[in-house]
């Protein structure tokens, strides 16, 4: 950048750095605390580690080991995966079919049905618990993984369908005309043309959904309960706070264990994330 431009943008950069610092510093504190032993944490503030950063002896992984093996976080990690991955796959799968239908197929009531589906986003989650829970109990779905997959799919479909529809409706019309003349049925057009083109949009929708489900506490608590065989990480960490509220070394380690996967997903797939936010159409 030319020097002049840099100077005039300096205030902006400063503000951005300030905001970044405000966000990162507490997290940094937690990170450092998670590697310290209980006496160290009780004795001095986390910022005191900096002078002696490389002298060794004050950091260990024992908190992480303890939290994963003894406090059940390892099991919860697997539970979270078992909840998030299928639920996201199912809702993305259904949403892609629905979005294609709403975008490119003609049938009576299409507009109204679409508005209804997207309008469901308006309903607060919490209002649905009371009606649905008894039904779940009757169908023996409460406390089971399929039960929560269904729940997350239902909660996620309005937004997911909307996002995928946004993308698909932006595809050029003559692509479909061409497919029609080539002899493709609606399903062939969907599976062999639209889906391959939609991969970036589907990927970003997948990430959104996945992160949302991974970080969810309420839905899991309600439909799954807190039993250790099914509890996701969010529930386990919440319990940890209740039961071991003073054991900062465990709580901070637990926090970072639960953050690890979402951070990894976000950083490794961030270009899809960004593309999803700016979802436009693909020109042939």
């Amino acid at each position: 950048m030319a020097p002049r431009r840099m100077v005039s943008r300096a205030p902006l950069h400063l503000v951005i750095l300030l905001f970044a610092a405000i966000w990162i510093i507490p997290t940094l504190g937690l990170l450092i605390t998670s590697f310290r032993d209980p006496t160290g944490i009780a004795g001095s503030g986390w910022w005191t580690v900096f002078p002696k950063l490389f002298s060794g002896g004050q950091f260990s992984l024992q908190n992480y080991v303890g939290v994963i093996l003894r406090e059940g976080l390892g099991r919860s990690f697997l539970n979270s995966l078992a909840i998030s991955v299928p639920a996201t796959l199912i809702s993305t799968f259904i949403a892609s079919f629905a979005a294609f239908g709403f975008a490119w197929m003609r049938f009576t009531g299409r507009r109204w049905l679409f508005m209804l589906v997207v309008g469901l986003m308006v309903i607060p989650l919490q209002m649905t618990f009371i009606p649905i829970l008894p039904i779940y109990r009757k169908l023996a779905l409460a406390g089971t993984f399929p039960g929560i997959w269904l729940a997350h799919t239902a909660y996620g479909l309005p937004l997911t369908t909307y996002l995928v529809h946004n993308f698909m409706s932006g595809l050029p019309k003559d692509l479909f005309d061409s497919a029609s003349i080539d002899g493709a049925s609606a399903f062939t057009t969907f599976s062999r043309i639209v889906i391959p083109i939609s991969v970036p949009a589907l990927a970003s929708v997948f990430i959104f959904q996945f992160l949302w489900i991974w970080n969810d506490l309420l839905v899991a608590l309600i439909y799954l309960g807190a039993g250790p065989s099914v509890a996701p990480m969010t529930v386990t960490v919440a319990n940890l706070v209740t039961n071991r509220g003073q054991d900062w070394e465990l709580l901070t380690a637990a926090a970072f264990v639960s953050m690890a996967l979402p951070l990894f997903v976000f950083f490794s797939l961030q270009r899809y994330f960004v593309r999803g936010i700016l979802a436009g159409s693909v020109k042939g």
Binding site: D174, D177, S178, S180, A184
Partner: protein
């Protein structure tokens, strides 16, 4: 190969009539162009032939078969779109092969056809490339190739050259012409560009407001336009239209207008209404005028040197008039020039019906 017959075909979108009761016979093996300004119904007509639009009224036949209710894939047609409509995630080979694969052609046959078409179009080295790696002209060729491999009865082109730059357009035009001569497939071609229509068409249908105003060989539409619209649409720069009064003197028609008096030769003279519109093409205004009669007087406001012609603009009676003169002629701005009117090629139109009278 087959002829395409449209009988009283109409297309309505709600209250709006896009195509109004048109009938035409597109001959087998001929290159037929539908040309007209935006919104004239030419693309809608093409799409009805393709089966991409329903027909409100009337009948379309391909060959002997009535295809009104036949889906596009069963009409044995292939279409080339303005924006190419290539499948972005497939390479060139698969783009061209897609239609054949869906129809379950044997692999060897598909390979043969695709390679033959690719060679014909000069894209055989690009078969593994994706559309985004190709230039506009190459993509257009792939789109044409996709149509060729199907070996259909009819080719349909929807303004395929509109997205290309001028030079490429001229090149592709000649290539399409050569292709047609080689393949001899019945072709229906839509464009808004009258130059494309004139150069490519065996017959052209000039359309406006959903109606065919003239359907004839290109030269015919130029020499003998059926009405004022066709006369003004075909030919560039466009024909000049001047208001005039008509009278008969000594058996010859006299046309009098602002600053001009034209005496038609006996063989072209006839009874005309009182008020008429005189049409003269810019290229028919040239040469120094021998006398005051049969000439237009123009005060030059703008001149454009094209190299092969000198375009001179002026005003007669608030109407802008263009003349296409010899490029070496010397003309001054704001000077008055007298231009001889070619009496054999001049046209006269009825101001109300716009029909050609002479």
């Amino acid at each position: 190969m087959a002829e395409v017959t449209l009988t009283e075909v109409t297309k309505r979108f709600g209250d709006f009539t896009a195509v109004d009761n048109i009938s035409m016979q597109i001959e087998d093996g001929k290159f037929t162009v539908l040309v007209g300004p935006s919104g004239c119904g030419k693309t809608t007509t093409l799409r009805m032939i393709a089966g991409l639009e329903d027909i409100t009224d009337g009948e379309i036949r391909i060959g002997e078969r009535v295809v009104n209710r036949v889906p596009p894939k069963d009409r044995d047609i292939a279409m080339v779109f303005q924006n190419y409509a290539l499948y972005p995630h497939m390479d060139v080979f698969n783009n061209m092969a897609f239609g054949l694969k869906l129809r379950k052609y044997p692999k060897a046959e598909i390979k043969k056809r695709v390679h033959e078409a690719a060679e014909l179009l000069g894209i055989q080295t690009k078969l593994k490339s994706k559309p985004r790696e190709l230039s506009g002209g190459q993509r257009q060729r792939v789109a044409v190739g996709r149509a060729i491999v199907r070996n259909p009865k009819v080719f349909l082109f929807d303004e395929p050259l509109s997205n290309l730059d001028a030079k490429l357009r001229v090149q592709m035009r000649t290539e399409l012409e050569q292709l047609h001569r080689k393949l001899k497939t019945t072709t229906v071609y839509v464009t808004h560009d009258q130059v494309e229509a004139m150069t490519l068409g065996d017959r052209i249908a000039v359309m406006k407001d959903g109606v065919i105003h003239q359907y004839a060989a290109p030269q015919e539409t130029y020499d003998h336009p059926s009405n004022q619209f066709v006369a003004g649409f075909i030919g560039s720069p466009a024909m000049n239209f001047l208001s005039a009064r008509a009278a008969t003197e000594d058996g010859r028609t006299v046309l009098t207008g602002e600053g001009f008096r034209i005496l038609l030769p006996a063989k072209r003279s006839r009874d005309l209404p009182d008020r008429v519109i005189v049409g003269v093409r810019p290229e028919d205004l040239d040469g120094p005028a021998a006398d005051a009669d049969n000439a237009l007087t123009l005060t030059v406001s703008v001149k454009e040197q094209l190299g092969n012609a000198l375009l001179v603009y002026g005003y007669i009676d608030d109407t802008q008039v263009v003349a296409s003169l010899d490029p070496h002629r010397h003309v001054e701005i704001d000077s008055e020039i007298h231009l001889k009117v070619n009496l054999d090629t001049l046209h006269v139109f009825d101001p109300e019906s716009e029909e050609t009278l002479v």
